[in-house]
Amino acid sequence: MIQELFIAALLFFGAGFVLPLAVRSDRRIVRTASYACTILASVLLGIPAIAVLLGSGTVIFPAYAPAGLFSIAFVIDRLAAFFLLLIAVVSACVALYAIEYSEHLDGGSRRNLLCGCTSLFILAMVLVVASANTLSFFFFWELMAAASFFLVMYEYDQPATSRAGIFYFIMTHLSTVFVMLGIILLWLGSGSFALDHLADTPSYLATGSFLALFTGFAIKSGIIPFHKWLPYAHPASPSPISALMSAVMLKVAVYGLLRFLLDVFSPELWWGALILVFGTASAVLGVIYALKEHDLKAMLAYSSIENIGIIFMGIGLYIVLGTAGLPFLATIALLGALFHSLNHALFKSLLFLTAGSVIHATHTRDIEHMGGLVHRMPKTGALFCTGALAIAALPPLNGFASELLLFIAFFESVTVVEPLVKVFLFLCLALFALTSALSAACFVKAFGSVFLGMPRSPESAGAHEVPALMLAGPGILAAACVVLGLFAFQVLTIAGFTIPVMPDIFLIGLLLLMMLVLTYAVAFFASPRTSRVSGTWGCGTHFQEAGTEYSGHGFSEPLDIIFSPLYRTRIRNERTFFDEHGAIFKSGTAEIRLLRVFEEYLYLPVARQFYRIAGAVAKIQNNCLDTYMLYVFVTILTLLVFLGWSA
């Protein structure tokens, strides 16, 4: 039954891909049918995923082997089922949202391509997760990269989009190269493409393979310093695509790392430490960059880097604790990482979809040009607020539950491990706590700037609430955020994990609600009965304009000052003078901008070196027949010499 449902889901995804490409006409019904196929496929996918997750046993599909060693095979175990469920839920909601959203896009029949490729993209991700050997994993991994590239390039005529697309293309293929390298090293070690435990492989091969795979997955999931494609690609692509990429595709990379770590390798302590260090750096730096960002979608992209960092911290902690002989705490850490993956998928897609609605209504991504939207788009505002509360890890929402698991693992472990590891873990814990606080600040700023206060642009003033379908998808996600938060304890128990140190968040929620009621009751009965009307954040003035209000920049200014060593600016100042002593000013240009550290000190130097090598190689091809004849001549001579030498 599970097999049939899974295959039916694949077929419907396929139909969602083929239909809009086969019927080229620019009609709404075609796109709606395609999205309907995607939604149906997601629902069909969700059922077997839940069944396997709740313990109906691993499902193995017969392998399709066209040529001996090169076989395509699928298997759904509990880990795969978990990620399939994640894909199914987010895909269904995103497709529901995209039905209406894609009708408001420019591009005519290109929109057919958008919904077709969306289906293909989801299908590829499903197949990556279900792959039973490294070959099919790699094949569908590449399919996923290609499909997502086309989706990012939807508005290819915009210069920013084509730049982002090329950046993404290079980074995603760099990731593919590393994954391929890792798989080849594995094959050298074990002689098979199966995802089995490495038994007697030389340790240098296993280590090399791990490092290559880790780099590949880190690039794909946007771990710092490989993160730079995220803040370019997410703003450039349509919002449902940003939601899918951020919520699901990054998780597929996490899945890849987990699959190899759990099933193939026997991790060592330093592997865990490495993952933990990269995770912590990404979490802290991601949220610090997010604070400084004023492009709504770029901010969400940086926040994704932060959350992926948190997930990597969980994975790293799992390995560190596992090798330190603390299996129970290790399991809690891993559970935290997995639960946070699901939660991040839910609230990040919710935030990207509602951000898409806001951008659709205001025609800008700059949060400084928004404001006052809570009165114009109240439902979108409420949904965004739910997402923001969840991502800020406030109880009783789901972000809190998963971060709590990680905090429990950290707190319980720092007392039992050896001193050096203790110091290291304590450092990570401190930075993790900082991340959580900063992330709350970041989303207070985001919600405040976008929805509160007065509108700071005419578009913002004239914004309207989006149609019901564009609220339904995010609505489901928001409900899931609340349910998974309130009933986190029960959900984990049903999944078979009982964690005694974890509190029942439903009780906490009730407690919080009671406190809220109590506080308001006290305020209501104890406050004077005179009322005063003034604008929000207006310091009590009677006449207020949008320009005098507290802005997003203003809100983050104190944090800017604290982290000023990280926000290094570059000042450029060029002046020309009428006289040679530089006394009479003629003209000049000046610029102060944020230093793009990774871009200017890491990416560009590497790119320049490659450019130079490519230039040297290009000289070989000089469009002259005589030169090519010379190459042939030299080749024949070389072959002759080789023949004589080997004879």
């Binding site: 027949l625 005589d626 004849m629 010499v641 004589g644 004879a647």
Partner: protein
């Protein structure tokens, strides 16, 4: 019946002739004489084929000799010579990568290299007839020398002669080493291609360099994808 040792001696003399012609094609600057030398080289090959027939008695050698004589001694040189009378440029003094003198040194090195390599290869496969060994060495060397002409000369005509001389090398190698019936068919195909090539180039491009040739085709409206501007 002529004694086989005498015939073998004659073939050796003809080998020397072929080397001389090859050297001349590499180093000469006068276009007309290169064509004549090519005809002489082909004639030498015809004679070698006939002498081999005396040694081995395979009738296919006669056929090769006849085809070679007709195409390479008569038709192709005649074609080129006819056109050459009509164009003004008689000398080829533009070179790429190698000057004639250095080409000579390189070809000496080439022959030595081929000799050493083949000696090692043949030693591995067992003893072979001395004459056939030299034929093979010379065939490959001639091929490589022809190739050298194709990339070191700039004029299209000399390039073609280089190619033809390369093909002579293939024929020579085929005469001594490879299975014959297959090679005949192969040669005929190549010859046909060369003929087609020649007849197209002959009309406009023979005195030009290859870079100029494209422009010329455009000027005379012989290039198909050209958009007519009125």
């Amino acid at each position: 019946m002529i004694e086989s040792a005498f015939v073998a001696g004659l073939v050796r003399v003809l080998f020397v002739c072929i080397i001389i012609t090859a050297v001349y094609i590499i180093s000469a600057r006068n276009l007309l004489s290169i064509v004549s030398v090519y005809a002489v080289q082909s004639l030498t090959l015809v004679v070698i084929a006939l002498l081999l027939y005396l040694l081995e008695g395979a009738p296919v050698l006669i056929a090769i000799a006849a085809i070679t004589f007709a195409s390479k001694v008569l038709i192709i040189p005649y074609f080129i010579a006819t056109i050459q009378e009509k164009i003004r440029i008689k000398r080829d003094i533009q070179f790429h990568f190698l000057s004639p003198t250095s080409s000579l040194f390189v070809s000496m090195g080439l022959m030595l290299l081929v000799y050493i390599v083949l000696e090692r290869v043949m030693a591995a496969t067992g003893d072979r007839d001395n004459l056939f060994f030299f034929g093979a060495v010379l065939g490959i060397s001639l091929m490589l020398m022809g190739m050298m002409v194709t990339f070191s000369r700039k004029r299209a005509l000399t390039k073609i002669l280089g190619f033809l001389s390369m093909e002579n090398g293939v024929l020579l190698f085929g005469l001594f080493v490879t299975e014959l019936p297959f090679i005949i068919e192969f040669l005929i195909v190549i010859d046909l291609i060369i003929l087609v090539l020649l007849t197209t180039i002959l009309t406009v491009g023979l005195d030009s360099t290859l870079e100029d040739y494209h422009k010329r085709l455009h000027r005379f409206h012989l290039w198909e994808d050209e958009v007519e501007v009125r």
